[in-house]
């Protein structure tokens, strides 16, 4: 203790006595649900999952320690590669698509009268409350290349549509389009952000002779960059964990497995199959850790990017 400076010592002391105070006890009482939940449902499972990933556990027989072999198999498994690539391709199409279309719609909504905003907002939001499993079921019908609604509509304008539901090249773009149907949530976020942009900034810009594009580029975008960044991260994480629509449309029954071309095999679907259809819990735990790391890395990159592009009020 001799190395502790007097000042530091008193800080530690106050920190320790802080714990004895009634208020502190009460505070931890209030926090206890979360602390227990964190320990039981997050911390312990993360450690357990790391341990499991070093075994061949299948919940039916005792586990054997297998070292890093699950991780080695991850590198060799062609389906891991395919599902990871599918997931990244989907996310790379879906996230910018969602952001651009949502922003365009929000900008349009911000320009029309207040009464009609409510109506359109309702219409755009309806698909958001539609369970994704129904979206996946609808996908197969609407996007059938021969008789589906989408291609029938396209043929009205003379376009011979692709085989959305069966051509592996078009399955992911089709799923992205289906996902864009539920763009309404992001529209509402952007609309709220647009309303918060102070009017006088636009007036000042107009007086300075800024064109409409310049006002958008120099005023609107920086002022809503917080909302853009928020949706960027949220949509990316959601994209990397895509499951419901693709699973509902293409997986789940023995008969659907017969025709699986892996074009809609997303990472979480493969993880789910390994974990619960084959009970390869050790291998699936290794897969879960890989996904966790991928998400952490991508989010970290996004946060770094945000430091350059996001404007924070009062900084």
């Amino acid at each position: 203790m001799s190395t502790v400076l007097p000042e530091q010592g008193s800080r530690i002391r106050s920190w320790v006595t802080g714990f004895r105070r009634r208020e502190t006890l009460a505070a931890y009482g209030f926090l206890s649900p979360w602390i227990i939940g964190f320990l039981v449902f997050m911390a312990a499972p993360m450690i357990a999952s790391l341990v499991l990933s070093l075994t061949d556990y299948d919940a039916l027989r005792p586990a054997n320690f297998v070292g890093m072999s699950n991780y080695q198999q991850l590198l060799l498994d062609p389906k891991v590669r395919v599902s990871l690539a599918n997931t990244l391709i989907y996310t790379v199409m879906m996230v910018p698509g969602t952001m651009v279309i949502a922003l365009a719609l929000a900008l349009l909504l911000a320009k029309v009268g207040r009464r009609s905003v409510g109506f359109f907002r309702t219409v755009f939001y309806l698909p958001v409350v539609t369970p994704k499993v129904a979206v996946g079921v609808l996908f197969l019908l609407l996007f059938n290349g021969q008789v589906g609604l989408i291609n029938s509509a396209l043929s009205l304008v003379g376009i011979h549509g692709p085989q959305w539901s069966t051509d592996p090249l078009w399955v992911k773009p089709g799923l992205v389009l289906m996902h864009l149907w539920a763009v309404g949530g992001t529209v509402v976020i952007y609309l709220a952000a647009l309303k918060n942009v102070p009017r006088d900034l636009y007036e000042a810009a107009t007086i300075d002779g800024a064109s409409a594009w310049q006002r958008f580029r120099r005023v609107t975008l920086p002022m809503i960059s917080g909302a853009l960044f928020f949706t960027f991260i949220v949509e990316t994480i959601a994209g990397l964990q895509t499951f419901d629509e693709a699973y509902a449309a293409f997986y789940g029954s023995a008969a659907s497995a017969t025709y699986s071309s892996d074009a809609a095999l997303f990472y979480l679907i493969y993880l789910f199959q390994q974990a619960f259809q084959f009970l390869h819990l050790g291998y699936a735990s290794a897969m879960a850790w890989l996904l966790f790391i991928v998400i952490i890395v991508i989010t970290a990159i996004q946060v770094r990017l945000s430091r350059r592009f996001v404007y924070y009020e009062g900084r």
């Binding site: 649900p33 999952s49 009268g113 359109f120 008969a255």
Partner: protein, 276 residues
Amino acid sequence: MSAKRDRILFWVILTAVSVLFVYPFLWLISASLKPRDQVFDNVLIPTTWAPGNYVSIWQVAPVLSWFVNSVVVAIAAALTVTVASAVVAFGFAYFRFPGRNALFGLVLATMMLPGAATMIPVYLIWNSVGLATTQVPLWAANLFGSAFYIFLLRQFFLGLPRELFEAARIDGASYWTLFWRIAVPLCRPALIVVAIFELKASWSDLLKPLIYLRDPALYTLPRGLKAISDQFGQAGEQRWEIVLAGSVVTIVPMIVIFFLAQRHFVEGIATQARKG
């Protein structure tokens, strides 16, 4: 100037987009009322009406119990997460205590934790206590609150004037009273937002019911719809009219709730952005 013309143009574009957004619903409802061989005819008004599809679906699947299950699970999930998150959020908002910032940082960090990362051990936990094939795992983790809602509610609680609480303390109110009698009533709109969000999330969830529910009598509607689509859809008997009627039954309750609570949905999402 051209402002008025612009506005009309915007209106036209938005109307066109709205048609795009609504048409799939109309198509779905219309197709669910057609006989099997006309499902794909893409005509909005069915040539032959087949409302019997909605009778067939009650006959082939226990849709009513699925509906009840969905309601029970969604309400349990929404109530537990709202109460628990509010308790924890109040803890973070009101008290000054050692470790607060570190713990709150931890709460924020867990928002980034993908559910998939803990999916397997959590399943093993429920399995070890014999609850892995019940509906309990679908909502029971909500008893401990959820990071995002804690974050959201904390912001609301921080917005309450502190003097209110100090006055009550002087009058001898307990911390619990401060929470139940002052904080909660004043933040009711925020609590409703949280409850409705969780209601929607729980109603739509497919992954957890897939993992946990085995007995078809316990299925929720999304899990049931998946079962219907496996049996009667593309890979099965190709009775599309049944699948479509099942989809309508799964979608409609959420749409009704949306119209009833529209204001809260929109407010909730907008707050996400501001606080985010």
